[in-house]
C-alpha cells in the first residue's frame, strides 16, 4: 500500500489524524497534513481507507 497527500489543497480538518494516527499527523504551524508513513503496513489499510473517505478536501490518495 502506498499513500500520498496533496498538502496544497489540505484544509487541516484533522479527520485523518483522528482516524489513522499512525499514518497521519498535522504540522504545528498550519495544521496541514503530515504523512508519517508513506507505505504503512497492511494492518493500517482499513483505517487509511476510512481516512480517505472522511477527508473533506479529498487530498489523500491510496494505491493498493
Amino acid at each position: 500500500m502506498k499513500v500520498t497527500v496533496d498538502r496544497d489543497m489540505c484544509i487541516g480538518a484533522g479527520n485523518c489524524v483522528l482516524t489513522a494516527p499512525a499514518v497521519f499527523d498535522q504540522d504545528q504551524e498550519e495544521a496541514i497534513v503530515v504523512l508519517l508513513d508513506e507505505t504503512p503496513p497492511p494492518s493500517e489499510l482499513t483505517a487509511v481507507r476510512e481516512a480517505v473517505d472522511r477527508c473533506p478536501a479529498a487530498v489523500i490518495r491510496l494505491e493498493t
Partner: protein, 398 residues
C-alpha cells in the same frame, strides 16, 4: 414554467426525517428541477454519491451564491461574494488555512477540552439547581455553546448578546439584505474594534492567534477579513451546535432504547454525536452553482444553473448504510455529509464534536432520568431557518 417546490423539513410531521418525497428521488438517484423558497430554481440532488460529488468539487460547483441563498432572503445569490464562505479555490484556501491551527488542530483541541468540560459541568450544576420543567435549549444548550465560542474568541460576557442578536437575524428566512446588514452591524463593529486592540496587545484567544499567525504571511489578513472570519465563527459556532444538542436530545429521548443505551454506557457519546449529526444535520441542504456544463445521474446541468445538495437525504442513502434510516448511538463512526463535504466542510466540526460528545456524556452520567416534559407533537420547532431544531425544549428529571 413552475417547478415543484423544494421539499422543506416539516418537523411537526416528521420530527427526525427528511420529507418523504426524498425517498424515491434518492433510491433512483434522480436529479430534478425544483423551485426554492427565495424564488430561484435549482437542480435537486438527493443521493449520497451525488451530494458528495457536488460538495466535493469546488471547480465545477461554486459556493459563490452562498450556501443558504435558496432559503434565506437576506442573501442575493447573484450578488458579489461577501466573505470567504463564498470563495472558491486558492483564495478560499488562503483564508481557511488560518482557521485550522486554532480550531481543528488535534493538539489544540486537547488544550481546549478542559474548558468545554468545565463549562458543561457548570451548566449541569445550574440545571440541577433549577425548578422543573426546565427550558433546556435556551438555558442549557445555548448557554454552553455561547460560553465555549465566546471564551475561545475572547468576547466578554457583557458583549455576548451581540452574537445572539446577529444569529437570530441571520438565520431567519424573512430578513431582507438591508435588515440583515443593520442587525449584523453591532457585532461586526465590536469585532472590528477588538481586531485593532488585539493587534497592539495580542492575547491567547483565537482572534489574537490569527493575527499573530498571519503576520508573516505573504498577504497578512486584513482587519476586514479578521472581522468576518471571527464573526462567522461566533455566529455559526453557537447556534448550530446548540441546536444539534437540543435536537439530538429530542431524538435520543424519543427513539426507543437510544437514551437508555447511552446512560448504560456513556462512552458511546462520541459515536452518538457522529450519528446525530449524520441523522439530523442540514435538512434544508446546501446551495451551489455549476461553473461549467455538467452531467449528474444522466441529467444535463448548464453552466450557471443552481444545484441544491440535499445533505440529510444523502445521509439516509442505503448505499451508505443498509439501515441508514435507523438512529443507532452505537453505530461505528464513518464518513457522512452532516458537516458538509469539500473545501467548505464545517470549519468548527472538531469543536462541535467535542462539545456534543462532552455534553451527551455528562448528561447521561449526571442526569440519567432526563426526559421531555411534553409529548413530541407539542414541541415548537424553529421555522424559516436553515439551522433546524426545537425553538425550546422543556425537560424534567428525578
Amino acid at each position: 414554467m413552475a417547478y415543484p417546490a423544494l421539499p422543506i423539513p416539516r418537523e411537526e410531521e416528521w420530527p427526525f426525517d427528511p420529507p418523504p418525497e426524498y425517498a424515491e428521488l434518492r433510491a433512483t438517484s434522480r436529479v430534478v428541477r425544483v423551485a426554492c423558497p427565495t424564488g430561484i430554481d435549482a437542480w435537486l440532488v438527493s443521493d449520497y454519491a451525488g451530494v458528495r460529488e457536488v460538495l466535493g468539487d469546488g471547480r465545477r460547483f461554486s459556493v459563490q451564491p452562498g450556501t443558504a441563498s435558496h432559503v434565506l432572503h437576506g442573501f442575493d445569490p447573484e450578488a458579489p461574494p461577501r466573505s470567504f464562505t463564498q470563495m472558491d479555490g486558492p483564495e478560499h484556501i488562503r483564508i481557511r488555512r488560518n482557521f485550522a491551527p486554532q480550531v481543528t488542530h488535534t493538539r489544540r483541541l486537547a488544550e481546549l477540552s478542559p474548558l468545554v468540560e468545565q463549562i458543561t459541568e457548570d451548566a449541569i450544576d445550574r440545571m440541577l439547581a433549577s425548578p422543573q420543567p426546565y427550558p433546556l435549549h435556551s438555558q442549557f444548550s445555548t448557554a454552553i455553546t455561547t460560553g465555549v465560542i465566546a471564551e475561545l474568541i475572547g468576547v466578554p460576557p457583557e458583549q455576548r448578546h451581540l452574537m445572539r442578536d446577529a444569529a437570530s437575524a441571520l438565520f431567519t428566512g424573512a430578513t431582507t439584505p438591508k435588515e440583515l446588514e443593520a442587525a449584523l452591524e453591532p457585532l461586526f463593529g465590536y469585532l472590528y474594534q477588538a481586531v485593532a486592540s488585539r493587534r497592539d496587545e495580542p492575547g491567547d484567544d483565537v482572534l489574537s492567534r490569527m493575527i499573530v499567525h498571519s503576520r508573516d504571511a505573504e498577504r497578512p489578513l486584513t482587519d476586514a477579513e479578521l472581522t468576518t472570519m471571527n464573526g462567522a465563527l461566533l455566529i455559526a459556532g453557537f447556534d448550530t451546535t446548540a441546536s444539534m444538542i437540543t435536537y439530538g436530545l429530542v431524538a435520543l429521548l424519543s427513539t426507543p432504547g437510544q437514551w437508555d443505551r447511552l446512560v448504560a454506557d456513556p462512552s458511546l457519546a462520541a459515536s452518538a454525536t457522529e450519528e446525530l449529526v449524520r441523522y439530523l444535520g442540514v435538512g434544508l441542504g446546501l446551495l451551489r452553482r455549476a461553473t461549467v456544463d455538467v452531467e449528474l445521474s444522466g441529467q444535463q446541468i448548464k453552466a450557471g444553473d443552481y444545484v441544491v445538495a440535499a445533505v440529510q437525504s444523502g445521509n439516509r442513502d442505503k448505499s451508505l448504510y443498509p439501515d441508514a434510516d435507523v438512529l443507532d448511538v452505537a453505530r461505528k463512526p464513518g464518513a457522512h455529509l452532516g458537516f458538509g463535504h469539500g473545501a467548505h466542510a464545517c470549519v468548527g466540526q472538531q469543536i462541535a464534536r467535542m462539545e456534543l460528545t462532552t455534553v451527551l456524556g455528562a448528561l447521561a452520567r449526571r442526569v440519567p432520568s432526563l426526559r421531555i416534559a411534553v409529548p413530541l407533537d407539542e414541541i415548537a420547532w424553529k421555522q424559516d431557518t436553515p439551522v433546524r431544531g426545537p425553538a425550546e425544549l422543556p425537560v424534567v428529571w428525578q
